[in-house]
Amino acid sequence: MSAVDNPKQPAKEWEPNIVGFACNWCTYAGADLAGLSRMQYPPNVKLVRVPCSGRTNPQFVLRAFQKGADAVLVAGCHPGDCHYATGNYFTRRRYLLMQRMLEFMGIDPRRFQARWISGSEAPKFRDVVTQMTEEIKALGPNRKLREEI
């Protein structure tokens, strides 16, 4: 979908565009480890690095859907491992609510996922990304909450 920059080029066959918010100390490190281990996974998930999953504001998730993301992933350390002690406990509470709210608005639950991926769980990172890409490819582009300018 995100054809090479100038939109004039014909869009190729549709590829899901998934925005991921990854906490710098665990998930981002897990993704790096997946890279070091040369694991292969589809290129559809692009990570925004945040200091802690607790920094991810539900409004960023809404913004991603509004700007045309097909799915959003919020990933951070396992509760208890947070570099900042309690960051991901609040993430858990907020996104337990946000996940239900998005479903309540009619967004397919598979389009929003929150997962705990630690710095050493590179295989888990690859599986989450691969699984999410396949699911969204099956679901097709997301029209809901999307801004038409």
Binding site: Y89, R93, L97, E103, F104
Partner: protein, 314 residues
């Protein structure tokens, strides 16, 4: 009814005359038999305009935000649902406890003015949904009490002078299905849900009446007010309105006191309480029953955590 109005006027006259308070917020008879809007008085003789009946539905606590930096002490009347707004403002440190004199009023259940057919002829009108589902008919906090009102921090039966009438009119009779609308929407398919909300968000004018009356929406400068913050566009398109609705629901999550005023004042009749109730239902399910604004030192569910919170993200 006039018994409560009489007590209201006497107390107001005495408070203003003695100078204990510089201003007092109550209700007054409006221009129609089915309207009893808010009134702000500063002189004892103005107390005669005070009035209370089953149309004095406005939650007056939102108006306190205009006096949050003043030094004068302000008194205001609160029904059960309104009083939770006082606890909300106190917990959010937006009003100083010693600057507010809270007067509890017994509530007989408020009537739904949208059901008026004949503007001239007063007739018995059905109760508002929020009163049928009311669990806190008695004030949760009060410095003074009139009309036999009693303070109760727990869900309770209506007390005070209007208790019998409130029970007769069915206040709190539908407490059980307070989440009925939420369950109804949840039962829909994903596309039906989206269509339902898309139709609602197409109507939204972004007039911000819901935000301005809400005691939980007490920011000095709202992110939706100035567009230089870059959060959301000023345009009132369905996606922007959806962004506004969901963001506001998340901002008041765990803090909404279920006074139902947002839904009542919405000129386009958007079921805003469905969003708030959905959040409250989820919070109760996930983190344990908690009623915002009923206990002064109660904690806000999103302001804390437990190690054994439900885990769905493994």
């Amino acid at each position: 009814m006039n018994q409560i109005t009489k007590e209201m006027r006497d107390l107001a006259r005495e408070l203003l005359a003695s100078g204990e308070v510089k201003g007092l917020i109550g209700w007054t008879k409006g221009s129609r038999w089915y309207l009893t809007p808010p009134l702000f008085i500063t002189r004892p003789e103005e107390a005669e305009q005070l009035y209370f009946d089953q149309f004095a539905v406005n939650n007056l606590t939102g108006l306190l935000l205009d006096y949050r930096y003043g030094d004068d002490k302000i008194a205001l009347f609160v029904k059960g649902c309104d009083s939770r707004g006082i606890v909300r403002l106190l917990q959010d440190h937006q009003i100083k406890r010693e600057k507010v004199l809270v007067i509890g009023v017994p509530c007989m259940g408020m009537s739904d003015k949208k059901a008026v057919t004949d503007p001239r002829q007063p007739v018995e009108l059905p109760l508002l949904d929020k009163c049928l589902e009311c669990r806190y008919p008695n004030p949760v906090i009060a410095d003074r009490l009139i009309g036999g009102a009693l303070v109760s921090g727990e869900p309770s039966e209506p007390k005070g002078l209007t208790a019998s009438e409130a029970a007769k009119r069915g206040v709190g009779s539908k407490q059980a299905d307070r989440f009925a609308q939420v369950k109804a929407i949840e039962a829909m398919s994903a596309d039906e849900k989206y269509a339902f909300w898309q139709a609602q968000h197409e109507k939204c004018l972004r007039c911000y009446a819901c935000r301005n009356i809400c005691p939980a929406c007490n920011c000095r400068e709202c992110i939706f007010e100035s567009d230089k913050k870059g959060w959301v566009n000023k345009s009132a398109t369905p996606t922007d309105n959806a962004f506004f609705a969901v963001t506001r629901a998340m901002h008041v999550a765990g803090r909404c006191v279920e006074c139902g005023e947002c839904e009542r004042v919405c000129p386009m009749d958007i079921p805003i309480m469905a969003l708030n109730r959905k959040v409250i239902q989820d919070i109760n399910e996930l983190f344990g029953e908690s009623d915002a604004g009923t206990d002064l030192d109660g904690k806000m569910p999103l302001g804390l955590f437990k190690n054994d919170d439900p885990e769905e993200f493994m």
